[in-house]
Symmetry: C2
Subunit: 307 residues, 2 copies
């Protein structure tokens, strides 16, 4: 059995318009790299962090906390060193903390001979994610671990459903380099919503699940609407409406806030459309003076993997 | 081409727990029969009504109103006579008015050589349904016409999705012979609902759609919960909680209010379970002194048909 493993831990998009709080999907070319190493010295030790300034103390680090949760459960004869090469900016809205949280437990599980299944790994990762987001949720963790589209039916007990991915589906994402405070993006949501809007949302969500099963791109397009959360949270993202409109006008099937933002995701049928959408969104944001990054990837059906 | 046709127009269950206002399914052995006859005399003429006391005047009769909507659109050289043999009690909550509304247009369409598709037929039937329920909706019409499970994604424009039906799915229904006023069952619903409950509902609804696609009976069971409407409307149905509990304890996958009640539907895997559920519900209601009827049928994947 290997003593060291290098892994790619992917970025993810949570919420996906009508699937607020339950749906997510996995990205392909953007993610963190991590090295996990078995050591004689017991415990979890973070030995290297590159890319962003994060705590080395395991109990204060997202990857460390999930690692500790698994370490306590597995109680192995060894310890683990973790090196984190962080590419996903914390607070970007594309699952930065989730990538960290799943990376350590996925790597450790491989080195221990895979004692845990994907749902159990997600369970450990929830502990790490909770450090970052102050609540236990799995809508970024599940797609990072399972790949593709995942529906987190419930967190307690954890139940993750793997939804089929139409073959020709691409995501284009723009990440304006601004900070949205998680507390603010939560506080802005209403406690109550109109019943009629809720009905519209679950009609769209049921349709989206059906459309992913049937690879019905027209229906994906008709389903990717969020009448509950977007009206509130989009106010926190500069030029949101413009970016979304230009994406839709240039062939995107749909667009929405990625996680709690500030990133905006779009889905497109085929690479050509996705490229046009990227160009269109780039055009809008280039004029704003706000720094931004863009990503274009196929939906990653594999999820986290060994490099 | 035939000049006369006899049809079976099935009863249906709308809402289906978490699918409030959008999901429905079609029943097999309970429904109305209707005879539609081409005549030289122009116009729509209801010539016979058996079973229940309903108006003969076409513009005041649900079947007549939908027939008139189609008649005006088709503008044929002939007229039509309609005979209605009504088995589904009006106000039962299993799509009595929907069966009437679809029966006339389905029969006329057959006699005219099928100029209209199922969605167009549903569109005409909506006009009849609106006479009964004072609003345009299609959650009973669509399953009666398409068969199986249908998701009415939107009414305007009308978009009906056909959801796959697991092979071994049976419905048991109890219809307590009490009257619930539609106005009351509507007024009792809140205008606003907690966001957290709405999230639970669409999580369940998305899961239900996934479970129907994958014939995952365990997941059907876990998904058939209604946290939005049932807490309010179940109060209007005597012994609702008892009936539901006994159904679940005796093998039902789930139970809920059929349409706006008073009927209660349950879904079961396999005929044996469905029979046990029927017996259990019967036992509860036998003690109440309230007259009731029961139905046990496979999900009808065919929908309305020629006899």
């Amino acid at each position: 059995m290997k003593n060291e493993i290098k892994i790619f831990s992917p970025a993810t998009v949570a919420n996906v318009a009508c699937g607020f709080d339950v749906l997510g999907f996995c990205l392909d070319s953007i993610g963190d790299e991590m090295v996990i190493r078995k050591t004689d010295k017991k415990g979890i030790h973070i030995t290297k962090i590159e890319g962003f300034d994060l705590p080395f103390e395991a109990s204060l680090n997202v990857a460390g906390v999930s690692a500790l949760a698994m370490y306590e459960a597995a109680n192995p004869d060894c310890g683990f060193e973790i090196e984190i090469y962080k590419n996903i900016k914390p607070g970007s809205g594309i699952g930065s903390s989730a990538a960290s949280a799943v990376g350590s437990v996925f790597g450790m599980n491989e080195l221990l001979g895979k004692p845990y299944n994907k749902t159990e790994l997600t369970q450990f990762a929830i502990k790490g994610e909770a450090l970052a987001s102050k609540c236990e949720h799995a809508d970024n963790l599940a797609p990072a671990i399972f790949g593709g589209f995942t529906l987190v039916k419930s967190v307690s007990p954890l139940e993750v459903l793997e939804i089929p991915v139409p073959e020709n589906l691409y995501a284009t994402i723009i990440h304006p380099q601004i900070e949205i405070k998680t507390s603010e993006s939560r506080a802005i949501l209403p406690k109550e919503v109109p019943l009629q809007d809720a009905i519209t949302q679950w009609s769209n969500f049921g349709s989206l699940i059906h459309s992913l099963h049937t690879s019905d791109y027209d229906l994906i397009q008709k389903s990717l609407h969020d009448v509950i959360v977007e009206p509130y949270r989009s106010k926190l993202i500069p030029h949101y409406r413009e970016v979304k409109e230009s994406a839709l006008q240039n062939g995107a099937l749909g667009a929405g806030i990625s996680g709690s933002g500030p990133s905006i995701f779009t889905l497109s049928k085929g690479l050509e459309n996705a490229k046009n959408v990227k160009e269109a969104m780039e055009k809008v944001y280039s004029k704003t003076g706000i720094t931004f990054e863009m990503y274009l990837t196929k939906i990653n059906t594999e999820g986290i993997k060994i490099l």
